[in-house]
């Protein structure tokens, strides 16, 4: 299924921060983790992750460093900062509010939810 662009853009900050809260990582591995977490339902265009990472870096939410990976190539690793953790907590509160609101209205509507469109279609980052 396709998740619309605005939703992907809005959720990218908490997802990336949460993945980095698990452990330091780099672009490719972050995308792999997103696929894994969403069961392949969230398809990001690979390149688009990098402007997001650079924005988080500029805002001071993450720090980057270059390291030589086991493949012998130079690789840019990202690490979440304490400011980033605070931001993640804030994002989490906001998304929980959105989620709770939606849950409330779904229940009120008694909509029959098709299994493949379950409420977890937009996975909330449960990292940290």
């Amino acid at each position: 299924m396709e998740i619309n662009k605005d939703l992907i853009a809005a959720s990218s900050t908490p997802i990336v921060l949460a993945i980095l809260a698990e452990e330091d990582s780099y672009g490719y591995a972050i995308l792999q983790r997103v696929r894994e977490l969403s069961g392949g339902r969230m398809e990001w265009t690979d390149g688009m992750l990098y402007p997001v990472l650079h924005r988080l870096e500029r805002l001071g939410h993450v720090e980057a460093r270059w390291e030589v990976a086991e493949s012998g190539r130079r690789r840019k690793y990202y690490r979440i900062t304490s400011q980033g953790r605070a931001q993640l907590a804030e994002e989490r509160r906001q998304w929980q509010a959105v989620d709770a609101t939606l849950r409330g209205i779904w229940q009120a509507l008694f909509l029959p939810v098709p299994t493949s469109h379950s409420a977890s279609a937009v996975p909330l980052p449960q990292g940290s």
Binding site: Y28, T45, D46, Y50, H54, R58, S71, R74, R75
Partner: protein, 456 residues
């Protein structure tokens, strides 16, 4: 790694892909390296899964996303990089070349208009040499409205903003001309000096064209101001050489060009050059962009060395600063220069790079300037009652305090950044947010000082 037989072609393909990416100005080589690492890993994983290298390469490139969209996303995040390509028309398309020509024609017409405007009062008998006060007070109005008009046209400002800018100019013109200034009084001189500073903010709002609310928009305006200054100095130097030759050659045939020079060439050239220099900055940004940071990095260590030596000498000899009445003005100018160096290196610095030696130098410069200024302020505070409060002294003192606050907090933010406690964005935000303070102070000097000090 892929099989050796395919290795060469994969390397070639990656080389080609890399060169495509490099052509995008918004994507820097360090980002290309990051994206390349991604691409290679993706290819390796696909090859492991059983794809041939060329297939794997195609899939990996496809997953990376369309290059135009990607470069747009990078440009949106790194808007400072886009800055140089925003206005410079790409030379390969006909439509943009036509736009560049229109731009040049408009700028030239406005420069001519500025030259006409400055000569217009002479038609009504207001001569440059006899009514110097009138010209000094109104200097801003001969060129800044035209410059604002140029940017309003270029940025397609909405009529609402335009109306406010016009109101600002009209109000400024009223304040500059209705006050009964004493001839050659100091409040008149202060008005002449401060009005351009206040109105420069109006030009800035037009320049930013709706982006004034953003840090990036104001930072672009700071860059623009500095580069306009560099271009203007260059044009003035060239003009000086031209007139020197002109005077020499005409003198050899017995014609004195001095009257023509003083009443036509100098005033018309001086105002016209502001518009032309602005247009040049707009059109040739990528050329000059390399110059301002070079000048900054050249003079930052030199100024820092001078200031540190001065402070050292002050401590060593134990002499007090012998503060003359006008000495504080010199310290104001020192702070302005230091602020300029700071602003320039802030505006040219990549906010993502980590602190380096140059940043330490910058902090040394700012802190030593602050200490030197504090010593001077201390000396003048002790004798302020003896000197009394003249409009000049209050103005100079006020500017000093405003600069001091600006630099002091910048130093705090810079040190925090060096110690890894804050991001560079905080410093940028502070510098750009502080800009209106200068304009407000200049407006206060223009509007409040003359009546308070009795127009002396």
């Amino acid at each position: 790694m892929p099989a050796p037989g395919h290795g060469v072609s994969l390397e070639e393909q990656i080389d080609q892909w890399r060169s495509y990416l490099r052509r995008r100005q918004a994507i820097h080589s360090v980002d290309v390296a990051e994206l390349e690492d991604h691409l290679r890993e993706q290819v390796a994983v696909l090859v492991d899964a059983g794809l041939a290298t060329d297939e794997a390469f195609l899939v990996a490139v496809k997953r990376m996303g369309d290059l135009d969209t990607l470069s747009r996303e990078f440009a949106r995040e790194h808007s400072d990089r886009l800055w140089k390509q925003l206005v410079v028309a790409p030379s390969d398309s006909g439509a943009s070349r036509a736009a560049a020509r229109t731009d040049a024609i408009v700028a030239f017409c406005l420069a001519v208009a500025a030259a006409v405007v400055i000569k217009a009062p002479a038609l009504f008998g207001v001569q440059l040499d006899e009514d110097a006060g009138f010209y000094a007070r109104n200097l801003s109005f001969f060129v800044l409205p035209l410059l604002t008009g140029y940017f309003a046209w270029k940025r397609r400002l909405d009529p609402g903003t335009l109306r406010w800018l016009a109101v600002a100019f009209v109000a400024a013109a009223v304040f500059a001309n209705v006050y009964p200034f004493a001839p050659d009084g100091s409040t008149e001189v202060l008005t002449a000096l401060h009005l351009p500073i206040a109105l420069w903010l109006v030009v800035g709002i037009a320049y930013a064209g709706g982006r004034w609310g953003q840090v990036g928009g104001r930072m672009d305006f700071i860059r623009f101001s500095g580069e306009l200054f560099i271009y203007y100095v260059l044009i003035a130097l060239g003009g000086g050489v031209l007139t020197a030759f002109m005077a020499m050659m005409f003198e050899s045939i017995g014609i004195d060009v001095e009257p023509f020079f003083a009443s036509w060439l100098l005033p018309c050239g001086a105002v016209g050059a502001v518009v032309i220099a602005s247009w040049l900055v707009e059109a040739k940004q990528s050329v000059i962009e390399n110059m301002a940071p070079v000048l900054t990095s050249l003079f930052t260590p030199l100024f820092a060395a001078v200031l540190v030596t001065f402070l050292g000498a002050l401590l060593w000899t134990g002499r007090g600063v012998d503060i003359e009445r006008d000495m504080l003005l010199a310290y104001d100018l020192l702070l302005v220069v230091v602020l300029g160096l700071l602003l320039y290196s802030v505006s040219a610095r990549d906010p993502r790079s980590s602190p380096g030696v140059f940043d330490v130098m910058q902090v040394v410069l700012v802190v030593s300037a602050l200490l030197a200024d504090a010593v001077a302020l201390w000396a003048i505070a002790a004798r302020i009652t003896e000197f009394g409060f003249s409009p000049n002294r209050v103005a100079v003192l006020g500017v000093n305090l405003i600069l001091l606050v600006n630099l002091a907090w910048s130093a705090v933010l810079y040190i925090r950044f060096l110690r890894g406690r804050g991001s560079f964005t905080g410093l940028e935000r502070w510098q750009t947010d502080y800009l209106p303070v200068y304009a407000v102070w200049a407006a206060i000097v223009v509007i409040v000082f003359p009546p308070v000090f009795g127009y002396i």
